[in-house]
């Protein structure tokens, strides 16, 4: 009866940190200060804010999710190494062996593509064979793909400044670049849930949508040469882009994840693969969580977009097709959440809805750029 109550108290975040966590944070602080001293002249006050904001954010995320911390360090290290091989000369991307075949931005992105394909195949194999080992391999492949993809983006960022200082910009400014971002964010969201729910069975499903994006990237690269770095049109030269776009893609990524989980749910509820997939209530919970995260981030992204529009176009809301479709996507998921929360609806209806939601989302993401015209100038096919 004299139990110590501290046993029952869940420890606060700071209490849980060990020396590795602190070391990680110190590395991030040092890296940010280094980046600041080196690149301050290219940054305005907001961007300086974002740099240190990102430092805090990634420290926190890395503390909460250790694997992500490792990824952050890995991306930092490999990117710095790659950049050091350039000697400030873009031509070396195709001359130096390591750059040409591994870690120039273009090669790293190609490796990401390859690794995502391998990861998906392995996940399906693991599901089919019920192989724990294959599952672990698939997870490792997905992490590697994420590593290569982020390295590719970081190095691309650097390369854009090599073309000309005024061309330099963060690589989230056109369809090609945001598709890479989409693959990476969706994969990371998946990996997070994979760890939290301790299940590898959904990897094959989620990587389906990632690999669809990979297919698009490949087509876009080889058929349209969209991988060439283009300078930014005036409307995109804004610090807002650095927060609006990532927030949007956390939203898109989560909605896609939810849709893929929904497809697994629908299969399992029809007794397909049911013995291999997680229980229905787990799938349902995961679907809800993904949509909740997506909804929150999509809300933030839309608000940020409105604030940016107020600065660039002269009004926070112009009923531009992209804006309007963002609203439609948002209303769609608001309705989904209402049905679940207010009416207590569960089961296949919501799963179907989440799956169809992906079509709406894809249209907002891609279809608007393809079929409709408007003020959003970052990407036409």
């Amino acid at each position: 009866m004299n139990t110590n109550m501290l046993d029952y108290q869940s420890k606060s975040l700071l209490q849980r940190l060990n020396w590795q966590d602190w070391l990680y944070a110190i590395i991030l602080v040092a890296g940010s200060i280094f980046a600041y001293t080196k690149y301050a002249k290219y940054m305005d006050i907001y961007e300086t804010g974002f740099l240190f904001g990102a430092m805090v954010l990634f420290s926190y995320l890395g503390w909460q999710w250790k694997s992500l911390g490792k990824l952050v360090l890995g991306v930092g290290l490999v990117s710095l190494f790659s950049i050091s091989l350039y000697h400030g000369d873009q031509a070396r991307a195709t001359q130096v062996f390591l750059l040409k075949f591994l870690i120039s931005s273009q090669s790293a992105i190609m490796w990401m593509n390859v690794l995502f394909v391998l990861a998906m195949t392995t996940y399906w194999f693991a599901l089919y064979k019920r192989s724990v080992f294959a599952g672990s391999v698939a997870t490792a492949l997905t992490w590697s793909a994420a590593l290569m993809g982020f390295v590719g983006l970081m190095v691309r960022w650097y390369e854009s400044y090599l073309i000309a200082p005024d061309v330099g910009h963060i690589p989230i400014s056109n369809l090609y670049e945001v598709f890479i971002l989409f693959c990476l964010i969706t994969a990371l969201l998946y990996l997070h849930y994979e760890q939290r729910f301790n299940t590898k069975q959904l990897g094959g499903f989620v990587l389906l949508v990632v690999n669809a994006a990979v297919g698009f990237i490949l087509w876009y690269t080889f058929d349209r040469h969209a991988n060439n770095i283009q300078p930014l049109v005036p409307a995109l030269q804004s610090y807002w882009m650095k927060i609006h776009v990532p927030a949007n893609f956390v939203g898109y990524g989560s909605f896609s994840l939810a849709a893929m989980v929904a497809s697994a749910y629908l299969l399992a509820s029809k007794n397909v693969l049911v013995s291999r997939l997680p229980a229905l209530d787990v799938l349902d919970d995961l679907m809800y969580k993904a949509i909740a995260v997506g909804f929150a981030f999509f809300t933030i992204a839309t608000i940020l977009g409105a604030m940016w529009a107020a600065e660039a176009w002269g009004g926070y809301w112009s009923w531009d097709p992209k804006e309007t479709w963002a609203l439609i996507v948002w209303l769609n998921y608001a309705a989904w959440l209402h049905l679940r929360m207010v009416k207590g609806l569960r089961g296949p209806v919501l799963a179907w809805w989440a799956l169809i939601g992906l079509i709406v989302t894809t249209f907002a993401f891609l279809g608007v750029n393809m079929f409709l015209s408007g003020l959003h100038s970052y990407g036409t096919l």
Partner: protein, 637 residues
């Protein structure tokens, strides 16, 4: 709720229509696209400006009302839930819980109560204890009830945002229009002539208006586009444009648009001078001034005018300026020239497969030639030659209606990269007095050793005849003649022969034009053959150019105009306030989980009834319940 959902659905569908049907286009475009009947029908529905129609605003209004009503009805409950501990539950109702368990305990009531209190505190629960008459005690605990505030925040946010949006919408104008107090102006008349009924005063609380300022001018009104007309918005200050600049990247794409503007206002001691650019507006007196676009501001132009269908070798000169008019020719054939647009930079991708890099091909000018009947054709001419498939051409486009694409006359450049070579060639080809010599030169190269004068004469006559035909209408005329005079079976052969002959004749004509200008003759090789062929093609296409006048842009004095957007949006603050509420609300609704625990202690403390509930039953809750059950079991054992 059901009503709100239906409204949202209609809103969604209307929004989709608005994205699929391009909004706010000139009305002629819609007429052409849909035909008169559907055009009228869609116009009645307001589909060309869906988001500003009355019915759309009414839906938004109802949404505000319905959501407000929802808040009004649900908030008291939410607030009660937020504050209440629910310490009045009975043993019986605890038994009905899906998550409950009874523990045995050996400690005293006081001791158990204290332990449980500490446990709840450690888990972050707040609690209240209530003694029952029979001596038993109930601990009622809650955590995460702020989630309930999330509901209020989210929904109040919706109302606040929509309210802000309505403030910035054109509701006041709509009402005034309905009452007949305001009317849009649809005629293209000078601003000063626009009547008061189509003017909005400086006290108009919200607007989004445009203003085009040529460099070196100033203005104190802006225009609000409404449907197929406009309103004049008066401004409480004057804006002047000192300079407008476009900067380019090395690749030629635009890098920045900047306007140096000066604001003067009697209330200001000194004028405000500021450079605005995309993403960097200026706000004065609650009116934000944005760089939105740019156009020509009346560039002065000097042309050389060639009469393509005459044998003139010298061009006339013509001076004009964008947005002004000039005239060409005289009498019944006189044409009005309307100078419409000048662009100094044109970034075009000229690679045949469209994959190469776009680059700047230099200035072009767009103008219309209107005849006495009012019929106009539109022309676009590039000042510098463009490189196509490795060769350089002057491009001159023509179209008869705006729906068509331009069809281009491609004039090959001469050795000096000018038009002159072609113009002399053209004059020679048209000049019948030159035909005998052309025919003679041709005969001496084609049949050099022929001594038979009759054959020679016959050959030369047929060349001259061919030249005359060609000079009347190029290949097209040739085809007509063949069709008329040659039996069907022989036409292909005849055409081939004529084409070969006209090419040879053209080669000689080109050389003659060179000689006349004291230049060396062409050496016969693939390049010169191609040059002659391109010249012939251009000559033949000339007859489809729709006018004999070819305006070659010679010089220009660039003057630009900056397109500014001026907005006043009192609702913006509300929208941002609502946005903050929305984010707070959504996060608290989704990431704060409301949970309640009841612990009913028997009078002797020997038995503890533990029950737990949440308004959202999901996996997290199951796990938490299981954890607490085990921990409490250990604690009480």
């Amino acid at each position: 709720m059901r009503f709100a959902v239906s409204l949202l659905t209609v809103l969604g569908i209307a929004s989709i229509i608005g994205t699929v049907l391009k909004q706010n286009e000139p009305y002629e475009n819609y007429i052409i696209k849909f035909g008169q009947f559907w055009f009228n029908f869609f116009e009645t529905l307001g589909l060309y400006d869906v988001y500003h129609t009355g019915w759309f605003l009414v839906i938004l209004l109802f949404l505000v009302l319905s959501t407000s009503l929802c808040i009004y009805r649900n908030s008291p409950l939410m607030i009660r839930e937020w504050r209440a501990f629910k310490e009045h539950v009975t043993e019986k109702s605890l038994n009905a819980f899906s998550h409950q368990v009874t523990f045995k305990s050996s400690a005293s009531l006081e001791n158990t109560k204290q332990q449980l209190g500490l446990f709840l505190q450690a888990k972050g629960f707040k609690y209240k204890v209530r003694k029952h008459n029979d001596g038993s005690e109930l601990i009622a605990a809650k955590a995460g009830t702020h989630q309930r505030l999330g509901y209020i925040f989210t929904h109040v946010a919706m109302v606040v945002i929509l309210f802000g949006g309505l403030l910035d919408g054109n509701l006041p104008f709509k009402v005034q229009e309905m009452l007949g107090l305001k009317r849009i102006e649809t005629l293209d008349i000078p601003e000063s002539k626009v009547p008061a009924i189509s003017r909005l005063s400086t006290s108009n609380p919200s607007f989004r208006a445009n203003m085009t300022l040529p460099e070196g001018t100033s203005d104190n009104v802006a225009f609000v586009r409404v449907r197929d007309g406009y309103l004049v918005q008066e401004l409480p200050f004057r804006v002047a444009l000192k300079d407008f600049r476009i900067e380019h990247y090395a690749t030629g794409q635009p890098k920045s648009f900047e306007s140096d503007i000066v604001i003067t206002d009697p209330e200001l001691k000194a004028p405000i001078t500021k450079t605005i650019s995309v993403n960097h507006p200026l706000t004065y007196k609650g009116i934000a001034i944005y760089q939105s676009d740019f156009q020509d501001g009346g560039t002065k132009l000097n042309f050389k005018v060639w009469n393509l269908l005459s044998t003139d070798l010298q061009p006339q000169t013509l001076n004009g300026a964008i947005f002004q008019k000039g005239s060409l020719g005289n009498g019944a054939d006189a044409l009005t020239v309307e100078y419409n647009d000048f662009r100094k930079f044109n970034i075009i991708n000229l690679s045949p497969d469209g994959r190469g890099k776009p680059h700047n091909v230099g200035p072009n000018v767009t103008y219309k030639l209107r005849d006495a009947q009012g019929q106009a054709k539109e022309y676009v001419n590039y000042m510098q030659p463009l490189q196509i498939d490795g060769k350089h051409y002057f491009l001159a486009g023509m179209r008869e209606t705006v729906q068509e694409d331009f069809r281009y006359l491609r004039i090959p450049v001469d050795d000096d990269l000018t038009l002159n070579g072609f113009m002399r060639f053209r004059a020679t080809m048209l000049d019948a007095s030159k035909y005998p010599e052309i025919a003679h030169r041709m005969a001496s190269t084609a049949i050099p050793n022929n001594k038979n004068a009759a054959v020679n004469k016959q050959f030369e006559d047929s060349v001259q005849q061919l030249m005359r035909t060609f000079a009347q209408g190029g290949y097209n005329q040739l085809a007509k003649v063949i069709e008329k005079n040659v039996p069907e079976n022989d036409r292909v052969v005849a055409a081939q022969t004529y084409i070969k002959m006209i090419h040879l004749a053209a080669f000689e004509a080109y050389n003659m034009s060179l000689v006349a200008n004291k230049k060396p003759e062409l050496v016969n090789n693939a390049d010169t053959q191609a040059l002659v062929q391109d010249s012939l093609n251009a000559f033949s296409d000339m007859f489809f150019y729709g006018t004999p006048y070819f305006l070659q842009l010679d010089q220009f004095e660039h003057k630009q105009a900056s397109g500014l957007q001026l907005t006043k949006s009192p609702g913006e603050k509300w929208v941002y306030l609502g946005s903050i509420l929305l984010v707070l609300g959504i996060f608290s609704m989704m990431y704060i989980r409301e949970r309640r625990i009841w612990l009913l202690l028997n009078p002797d403390g020997q038995q503890v009834h533990f029950a737990m509930s949440s308004n959202r039953k999901n996996l997290d809750f199951e796990q938490e319940f299981n954890l607490y059950r085990e921990q409490l079991k250990g604690l009480l054992a």
